[in-house]
């Protein structure tokens, strides 16, 4: 391992050095390949394992082969300490990941993103004193890694708190100005640190101040953003974590870190924009949080709400040919996905064709609804994406809307004043009959009236989704 192979730019390199870099190349390729496989349903799981393998490889070779600038490897005692720390992190990470409920998945992703950002922040903070005075490039990447990591850390923690229902939305008009002031002062302090000719040891007060400012900015940045937009924010913060890791990669001139980080940064950014597109909103709009209330200025004859009894609903469903279930976040909250599957199997056994229409942003994160229904054993073939079900909607006998609201609101088509105008929706209003299961007459996330409720073809079934479906199932069974 220590055999010297040759010199590059006047520095000797050994077999070990070469193997280390080679392993980084393989790890980086595994990241790219893994991400590629992750974006196709059939290969996704394999992709995840490939990427994990790349990470494991890079960790092991770093532990065994890395040398500092003085050419010293990692000593045995240090290796033991590292293994202990990794052991602790791995045990907790693994257990929580295995035990957490599927509905809580989004906040867990957010929490793990926070730890990644926190690690980047700490690494940058600890490496700063080692920088040479006036070495603008390395101080710049350190400071960037610190800021971005800190914002991702505190921001993701707030996002976790919001999704978990521990932190509420605080939205005050003046917060935009506070955030602006915070951002400007953070950047000003960062520039000051980068261009200062003083050695880092004299600048520690500034670097601690910068850490504090960045952490506060992360909190204030996520605070005003409404719950419905959390997935977009988490994806954005995920992209930040990647960039922060890449910055740390520059500190160590480590190609695996740079490539992995930038890869996640770019992919996360694209994913963020894709999610915004699915909700017909711009990223700026999400960040400033100009959603909810307002709009709905269109004055329309409200009409009457018509309720449906359980037995009528049971008869209607049993004698239909085509039924489409449109699940929303309410279904997940009520934990009604298992009983919904019981309903669809029961109907299928009566010869009814049942499909689930999945809106791209149904649930708390795009694709979250698919995961929840998959957990309840609903066959993959029964889940139909919005674009594929809409043309078929006029042939559907009954559309059952369970705990969804904005994603079936026809205002998206015909009310230009509505905040959701232009958002693609599932065309529930085109079905021959519509049953809406809802806890009460509350509004959806967007906080706007839904005229689908007043449609002549619509019947409401009020109550907790799980209880309603359970009673519906026993009603159909007793027919």
């Amino acid at each position: 391992m220590d055999k010297v192979l040759g010199t590059l730019n006047g520095i000797e390199f050994t077999v070990g050095d070469t193997l280390l870099e080679l392993s980084y190349l393989i790890a980086a390729l595994l990241f790219v390949f893994g991400l590629k496989l992750l974006s196709h349903p059939e290969t996704a799981r394999r992709g995840n394992l490939w990427a994990a393998g790349g990470m494991g490889l890079a960790m092991i070779t770093t532990l065994l082969l890395h040398k500092n600038s003085a050419g010293e490897g990692i000593s045995i005692t240090n290796i033991w300490i590292i293994l202990c720390a990794i052991g602790v992190g791995a045990a907790i990470g693994w257990m929580v990941a295995r035990k957490v409920k599927m509905t809580a998945m989004p906040q867990l992703v957010s929490l793990y993103n926070a730890t990644g950002g926190g690690a980047s922040m700490l690494v940058a903070l600890l490496e700063y004193p080692a920088a040479m005075a006036g070495d603008i490039q390395s101080i710049l990447v350190t400071v960037l890694g610190l800021i971005i990591g800190a914002v991702a850390f505190s921001g993701s923690l707030i996002a976790f708190g919001k999704l978990d229902g521990r932190v509420g939305d605080i939205m005050k008009p003046f917060m935009t100005y506070i955030n602006l002031v915070l951002m400007v002062s953070t950047l000003a302090l960062a520039v000051f640190i980068v261009i200062s000719p003083n050695p880092p040891s004299e600048m520690m007060w500034a670097i601690y101040g910068l850490t504090a400012l960045s952490l506060i900015y992360g909190v204030m940045f996520v605070m005003p953003i409404g719950g419905a937009d959390m997935p977009v924010v988490i994806s954005l913060l995920n992209s930040f974590t990647g960039i922060a890791a890449a910055m740390a990669g520059f500190i160590y001139n480590n190609q695996a870190m740079i490539l992995g980080g930038i890869l996640v940064g770019a992919a996360g950014m694209i994913l963020t924009l894709l999610m915004c597109k699915a909700m017909n909103r711009s990223l700026i709009n999400v960040i400033i949080g100009a959603f909810g209330g307002g709009g709905a200025a269109l004055d329309r004859e409200q009409g009457n709400i018509k309720e449906i009894t359980l037995s009528d609903a049971a008869v209607l469903l049993s004698y239909s040919q085509k039924v489409v279930v449109i699940p929303g976040y309410g279904l997940a909250v009520a934990q009604a996905q298992h009983i919904a599957h019981e309903l669809d199997s029961l109907l299928e056994s009566k010869g009814v064709d049942v499909k689930y229409a999945i809106h791209p942003v149904a649930g708390r994160m795009p694709g979250h609804m698919n995961v929840l229904l998959a957990e309840a054993d609903v066959p993959y073939e029964q889940l139909v994406e919005m674009d594929n079900i809409n043309p078929d909607m006029p042939n559907v006998d009954v559309a059952i809307v369970i705990g969804a609201n904005d994603v079936v609101n026809p205002a998206a088509y015909d009310d230009p004043s509505s905040p959701i105008y232009g958002m693609p929706i599932i065309d529930a209003h085109l079905a021959k009959n519509i049953i809406i299961m809802k806890r009460g007459m509350g509004k959806g996330y967007a906080g706007i009236e839904n005229f689908l409720f007043f449609n002549d073809k619509t019947r409401m079934l009020f109550g907790d989704a799980k209880k309603s479906i359970t009673s519906l199932v026993s009603e159909i069974k007793s027919m």
Partner: protein, 104 residues
């Protein structure tokens, strides 16, 4: 201008890596179906845990002869990084496991 050119030349490898990685990142993701958005976000999140390499290097060359706050923070960074990596990949795998079950 001269400064800019010097900067480019000194960091040309890094700039090449960044430019190509951005392109690869965008290209790899752009055709993903909405169904996979959450698992993909989670998987990408786990990859961003690559910062753990930095943690290993940091603690690996830390001076153990005396107790310091830096060492504690370094170990904390390592634990955080591991949580991100192990937790991230494990959660992603659990989500994807559910999709696979249906396919049999």
């Amino acid at each position: 201008m001269e400064q800019f050119l010097t900067f480019f030349f000194e960091y040309k490898e890094a700039i090449f890596i960044i430019a190509l990685s951005i392109f690869v990142g965008i290209e790899v993701i752009s055709n993903v179906p909405a169904v996979l958005h959450t698992p993909l976000m989670s998987g990408a999140n786990a990859i961003s845990g690559v910062i753990i390499i930095g943690g290993i290097i940091l603690v690996g060359h830390a001076d153990l002869s005396k107790f310091s706050l830096d060492l504690v923070l370094g170990i904390l960074a390592l634990i955080f990084g591991t949580l991100n990596v192990v937790g991230g990949f494990a959660v992603t795998d659990r989500m994807l496991e559910m999709f696979k079950k249906k396919k049999k």
